[in-house]
């Protein structure tokens, strides 16, 4: 690593694209990812809109391309803890958290996970599936190196006994590494909002009110239920309603922005539901239908005409759980009178918010956030430039955008970082 190299923070689609573009141009890249695997939020999706392509099928080759690229060093389970210097010569300290597994020796066979007696909810599956204490977050994880959850581990040692490579390292310590880079790209993505604070919808109180990302895991063939949509009480699902703009376009908690994806996301989930179960009733309760992208309106038309998805204009004000655990939604379609819709399951399309820890990272990097904690741009005509020279931003962490836009943004950030490290004009460095 040298001043001719670039640090990319965040291994989602935007970060991977930026890293890959830079690497292809012959620039060394250090890609730092907080979780155990690169792939980001897209890896959690079943399909993508508006083409219904399998998300992981598109993503997994990209993840491998990134990981195996000779110019990219991927540091997973790692976080940037300090940045010194200035544009052209940043000194970055990165904390590598211990996996308690020797990364060189582990061949990803999964024997440790099979014998582990622990049951821990898997964040990747939105806590809908149990994993062992020795685990990878999902099957296609890259790198395919297991990790031990030592916080919850009861230290029985079974994993160590079965590991044929003797790769278990209970005494592994956190490691501090330093890299010198000329530019930095931040692409830390988003977190889905926990909607339990929006009390009128009863999330967390009613069993059959889910978030869109939870539903995405349910309908995913590789998900916790193998793609079968079921309720916790085992009842067959006959009707599902999606509620749009939950926590987004909401001034009550300073989130007036549109999440930019949930109209299409809900349409996709409704179409997938219809493909799995043509007889299930699907309704989408929306505020405004924002089909602004290429092929988006056609996608909604197909949902309506070919799949029979029902679109209802009206933001519900209340959900009540009935004795049979069905849900009664109160809404007012033309502000005329109150209508009730009874469904078996409600999916809340929640706001997507800046990732946890964004303020800390902004402080470490010395860059500013906007009023909603997205990274601030220096000026609107440089859509990847943060408030500090040499630090660029890509993807959802700058502003709401969908997957193709995040990828384009990643490429844009990469090209600006290239200017810096390939010795563009000096005035850029001021």
């Amino acid at each position: 690593m040298s001043e001719k190299s670039v640090l990319v923070i965040g291994g989602g689609v935007a970060g991977m694209q930026a890293a890959f573009d830079l690497a292809e141009a012959g620039i060394k890249v250090c890609l730092v990812e907080k979780t155990l695997s690169i792939g980001g939020r897209m890896a959690q999706l079943d399909k993508t809109f508006p083409t219904n392509d399998c998300a992981i099928c598109i993503l997994a080759p990209k993840m491998m391309d990134c990981y195996r690229h000779e110019n990219i060093e991927v540091l997973t389970f790692s976080e940037v803890i300090s940045v010194e210097g200035e544009v052209g010569s940043f000194k970055v300290k990165i904390l590598r958290r211990p996996r308690f597994v020797d990364a060189e020796l582990c061949n990803g066979c999964g024997d440790c996970a099979r014998v582990c007696p622990m049951g821990i909810l898997n964040r990747f599956d939105m806590d809908l599936r149990v994993r062992g204490g020795a685990y990878i977050p999902f099957l296609q994880a890259v790198p395919l190196i297991y990790a031990l959850d030592r916080e919850k581990c009861m230290r029985c040692g079974l994993c160590k006994v079965v590991c044929g490579k003797d790769a278990i390292r209970f005494d592994q310590k956190p490691e501090l590494v330093e890299r010198s880079v000329g530019a930095i790209i931040v692409a830390i993505g988003f977190d889905p909002l926990d909607p339990s604070g929006i009390t009128e919808y009863g999330y967390g109180k009613y069993d059959n009110v889910l978030t869109a990302l939870e539903y995405e895991r349910l309908i995913c063939a590789a998900g916790p239920t193998g793609g079968h949509v079921m309720r916790t009480d085992g009842k067959e699902v006959r009707s599902i309603a999606w509620i749009q703009c939950v926590g987004a376009r909401d001034t009550r908690d300073n989130r007036p922005y549109c999440c930019s994806v949930c109209c299409m996301h809900a349409t996709k989930e409704a179409i997938l539901t219809k493909e799995h179960y043509p007889e299930v009733g699907t309704s989408i309760l929306y505020t405004d239908l924002r089909c602004f992208g290429k092929g988006f309106q056609e996608y909604v038309n197909r949902a309506k005409d070919d799949y029979g998805v029902v679109y209802i204009r009206g933001k519900p004000s209340e959900i009540r759980e009935k004795e049979n655990r069905n849900l009664e939604i109160f809404y007012s379609p033309a502000s005329d009178k109150v209508e009730k819709l009874e469904v078996d399951m409600v999916v809340l399309c929640t706001a997507l918010i800046p990732s946890e820890g964004v303020e800390m990272l902004a402080q470490i990097l010395g860059i500013e956030l906007d009023g909603y904690k997205f990274f601030k741009l220096k000026d609107p005509y440089n859509p990847t430039e943060t408030t500090r020279a040499g630090i660029f931003v890509a993807g959802y962490c700058q502003a709401p955008r969908d997957i193709p836009e995040c990828i384009a943004h990643g490429s844009a950030a990469a090209s600006r970082a290239m200017e810096v490290v390939l010795g563009g004009s000096d005035d850029r460095r001021d």
Binding site: E200, T287, S317, S332
Partner: protein
């Protein structure tokens, strides 16, 4: 009023209440207690105003309960109750008014603004066992309790018991509150019915009288009075005394371990008055106190910010829909299994008691004012 002048006022109302943010999503309509039982749509009223249609004469502006449920669920920040209140004051300026459900009640409030030769006898409820004074740091703003006690005696509500309980609780906690015979109506009902000038006169009298007593802190049992002092008086006057609701005061004392209660085993539930809850955000303090006394405290299906209204506010437009809303709320109460519903608002108490008195035998419920409930638990009243 000239048309352009009225237009200017309406535009200001739209701006002040952010009505222009309305996207007609219908969330308020589906949340409105009135629309659940009748036909009412806040966003329709807003839209009519936004596109410049005359907002009056229109009875819809007088039907609103101002309960604030619409404002609570609105994700665009439209303050509909305030919108209605301001539109009403425009309408009032043009000699329109809603239907007061209790005859000439408003006239009495107006009369209070006049100088009178014979002083009112507002402190008739202060019995010998109560310690009160005329000057001091802490003042208890009694509000209309002594007045309601007489007007609504046929319902058996005895609202002066609320005032007596409040003073007994304060005495027990070594507070001898100031009470004022020259206190006047806080003006809440007139304010919400568009009568701003009379409201300001009442406010001025109260503020002057409180200042003369040297009070540093004013304590309220009535949520309407508390709201009016806290949010509406400062629109026109500077207050140099602190305001506190009895529930907040008690919760604080509870934290400091200063109160002993006799606990009860029976389940009880609590009805959030709109002024204390949604308007002022005081949800936790009464719950802290009640659940300490009654560990088997249960919530009704709709509670806190989603709480159902008692059916009317400001004595305006109490009708069959209001009755249905009350019935629904009392059903929610019965569904919890609790036989005691506690509320901190004398008007909620009056409204529920009125509903029950017309349907004798339908309900096996007791509606207890918060202050009386606490005083009983402290062994101060029976």
């Amino acid at each position: 009023m000239r048309a352009d002048c009225r237009m200017e006022k309406i535009t200001e109302i739209i701006n002040r209440t952010k009505a222009y943010y309305c996207v007609e999503c219908g969330k308020c309509t589906s949340a409105c207690p009135l629309s659940r039982f009748g036909d009412y749509s806040p966003d329709r009223v807003v839209e009519r105003t936004l596109i410049g249609l005359p907002v009056r004469p229109d009875l819809r502006i007088w039907s609103c309960l101002t309960c604030g449920r619409c404002k609570e669920v609105c994700t665009y920040g439209v303050d509909y109750p305030e919108f209605i209140r301001r539109i009403r004051s425009v309408a009032k300026g043009e000699k329109e008014q809603g239907i007061c459900a209790h005859g000439e009640l408003f006239s009495v409030m107006r009369l209070l603004t006049r100088q009178s030769e014979t002083p009112q006898k507002r402190l008739y409820w202060v019995s010998e066992d109560l310690m009160v004074r005329d000057k001091g740091d802490m003042l208890y703003f009694t509000g209309c309790l002594p007045y309601f006690d007489i007007v609504f005696r046929d319902l058996g509500v005895h609202t002066v018991e609320i005032a007596r309980s409040t003073v007994k609780i304060l005495n027990k906690l070594d507070v001898v509150p100031v009470v004022m015979n020259d206190e006047v109506c806080c003006g809440h009902d007139l304010y919400w019915n568009g009568e701003i000038e009379t409201f300001k006169r009442l406010a001025a009298i109260n503020i002057q009288n409180i200042a003369r007593r040297g009070a540093k802190k004013v304590i309220f049992s009535c949520p309407e009075g508390y709201r009016t002092f806290k949010l509406d008086y400062p629109e026109f006057f500077d207050l140099d005394f602190e305001l506190v609701h009895i529930s907040e005061f008690l919760a604080e004392q509870l934290d400091e371990g200063k109160i002993d209660f006799r606990t009860i085993d029976e389940p009880v539930t609590y009805h959030d008055p709109c002024r204390l809850g949604r308007h002022l955000g005081v949800y936790d303090a009464p719950r802290r106190v009640i659940s300490t006394i009654a560990p088997n405290f249960v919530e009704m299906a709709s509670n806190r910010e989603n709480s159902l209204c008692c059916g009317t506010a400001g004595w305006t437009n109490c009708d069959s829909f209001s009755e249905e809303i009350r019935g629904e709320r009392l059903k929610e109460c019965s569904d919890t299994g609790a036989q005691m519903m506690i509320t901190s608002c004398p008007k909620c108490l009056i409204h529920f008691k009125c509903h029950m008195s017309n349907r004798k035998g339908d309900y096996d419920l007791e509606i207890v004012p918060f202050e009386v409930f606490v005083a009983r638990a402290m062994g101060l009243v029976k």
